[in-house]
Amino acid sequence: MSLELLLFLILFPLLTAVLCLVLPDHPIRRWVIRVSGVLIGAGAVYLLVTSYDSGMRLIDVPHEPVGMIMQVIVLAIALLVLYLGVRYRKPLAVGLILVQTALVQYFEFQYAPGLAMEANLFVDEFSIIMALIIGVIGSLICIYAISYMRCYHEHHPEIEDRRRSFFFIMFVFLSAMFGIVFSNNLLWFFFFWEVTTLASFLLIGYTRTEEATNNAFLALHMNLLGGIGFALALLYIGVTGAPLGLDRLVEGGAAVALVPAVLIAFAGLTKSAQLPFSSWLLGAMVAPTPVSALLHSSTMVKAGVYAIIKFAPVLSGTVPGLMVALVGGTTFFLASAMAITQSNAKRMLAYSTIANLGLVVACGGIGTYEAVWAAILLIVFHAVAKSLLFLSVGTVEHQIHSRDIEDMDGLIVKMPRVAAMILIGITGMFLAPFGMLISKWASLRAFIDAPGGLVFVLLIAFGSGVTLFFWAKWLGRLITRPLDEENIEGRVKTEEISVLFALSALVIGVCLLFPRIAHSLVEPYVLSIYGMVTQLGQDNEIIMILMLAMILVLPLTMLYFGNGRDRRKLDVYMSGRATTPDMHFKGSAGIDRQLSLHNYYLEGYFGEGKLMRIGVAVSVLLVLTMLELIVVPGVLA
């Protein structure tokens, strides 16, 4: 049963992708996307229902002819990248793909036939969680993209309408992500990994403007570099005869698997946009919003941290593991600090994504059972809240024609429902009873007990303070309303709003169900790997739920305060100046002026350029140390 289901999840998005490619822009295609989205989500949920309590299961799929097909596709990808690299004159991409292909082909012919694989696919609680994220959130993003992209092309007539290939790549992306989380054979894992690299490259370059092309190649360069790390890991496995199966390799522990684990963690760092490699994710903002949402929440970057967490037991307690964790910790703090100076909502979200993934990476590098527990929850909560935020910003951008946070004042009046959903998303990212904060709390506890944990405790303590600042000021901006705005929400397409509703419900639902998710999925997984498990404590869970309930009930007091009955409305204090309702006042010499309010960005203290330089320097040092730590002993031996 599971086999069919896994194959369905991997192959069905592919079928949809092909349908999107061949069908013209017609209601039929839209319905295909909608129905497929629902089916993929349903498939993921069905997987949860049928296998959540059956632990880790290996599933045997014959390697051939699948391996053959993959081989062909890998070569095709290489040729495509080669062609594009030559066409756009990007020698670096050409060089990287040549090196990578050479490594992989060498492995394929020299070693792959000799390595026995017991099972190529597997499913465990962690992959169920990932499948749910990909299936449910990924599909919702695809459904959202239907009306978004139509709107997008209406707003941007200069951009060629290539929606067919857009949806094709989106669904291929989903398929590859399912492939990553279900692959036990590292060769398969690598194949799907490379597909996501290519898919993200094509999606970022969708608009084909010069900026988009450059940023797409930036992403490609970095991910190909990571891919080379992955290929080297495969080669190492081939040379030393270590198991090619993920399960056996991780069981082998640091003695067997440290070198491939570090190399794959390196690949994971590039894919999850950790610090020296963060710029590609920032550059990816040029793509249409659903792409950003997909890259940031449910796919791509999550593939990176998934790989690192899979190898967390191997990294745990090793010095290279500590280096991985330090890269993550540094990224968490610095990216959060840089987010303060951003007024572009998407860019701010990007920094926040990088920061939160940094926290996950830090947990993965520490690799204790507590840390992994926290990391998985971080992934879940981040995925739901971040996808909601990205899509909401996309919707807002289409209505107010700006993605600048400073332009979002009065949004609570202009687009009350969307603003409320952004509020839910923001609070979901940093406030107390919501998931991200629970997870941060859990990771703090994990760090305290880890050796050398003080550094991480400090990074997380200062990082939390900074996080607070940039989220809260955005929150405030939405609620500020200097003008008597009219409600323009009616212009938003019903479908977009429905997706946002679904995601908001998910953010709240995941928080309410958090103890259940932790007990039924995360804890069994951690238990099966470490033989130990952590818990938040039942009383704390109750308090959390209580707080959430209070927050949800509190708006009811608006009914009492809201109507302003028996109350007098006062004007805003403007030092005694009389002010009109839309905040005009007489300035000096009687000149008519309008009040405008702006947030603090503290550029002098948290300047992006300054911090980025520090961050890149520190993280390059850490990454190089990490790599040397595995290379030097190898050379000496």
Binding site: D566, R568, L570, Y573, G576, R577, A578
Partner: protein, 145 residues
């Protein structure tokens, strides 16, 4: 209840005074007179204030401001005109740019003349204002607000 009397918070506005009265008002906060004994605080913010203390006469520029500050004070509130200029315009009454006392713009409850008004007078004036404040509170409650 008696809270209103025990915690009068002030906002002080200088209409077009020569600053004589202003200095005296601030002198009340010094250790010698220490009006905080009576719970009096100089808030500098109409939203927090109960007593509107105005020094100096009204001129064209100040009209709107006085009105605005007065409007922004929550009920019950009392206006105290401190110094002869605030009461009637004083020696500046006939100036081309002076409209006269504060009562040209808003209803004044307590008039305390003097040039400048002395701190003892100021304290006395505020105590009188407290009586008015109490009355207004009682009336407000009667009206069911």
């Amino acid at each position: 209840m008696a809270y209103m009397k025990r915690s009068p918070w002030i906002i002080h506005y200088d209409g077009s005074s020569c600053n004589g009265c202003d200095i005296e008002v601030l002198a009340c906060l010094t250790p010698l007179y220490d009006v905080e004994r009576f719970g009096i605080i100089n808030t500098g913010n109409p939203k927090h204030a109960d007593i509107f203390v105005v020094t100096g006469s009204v001129n064209e520029q100040g009209r709107q401001v006085i009105r605005n500050i007065y409007d922004q004070m929550p009920e019950p509130k009392v206006v105290a005109a401190f110094g002869i200029c605030a009461c009637s315009g004083g020696i500046f009454r006939e100036c081309y740019n002076v409209d006269g006392g504060i009562d040209q713009v808003i209803p004044v409850d307590v008039y305390i003349p003097g040039c400048p008004v002395r701190p003892e007078q100021i304290i006395d004036g505020i105590v009188r204002a407290l009586g008015v404040l109490e009355e207004k509170l009682a009336k407000m409650k009667e009206d069911g607000r």
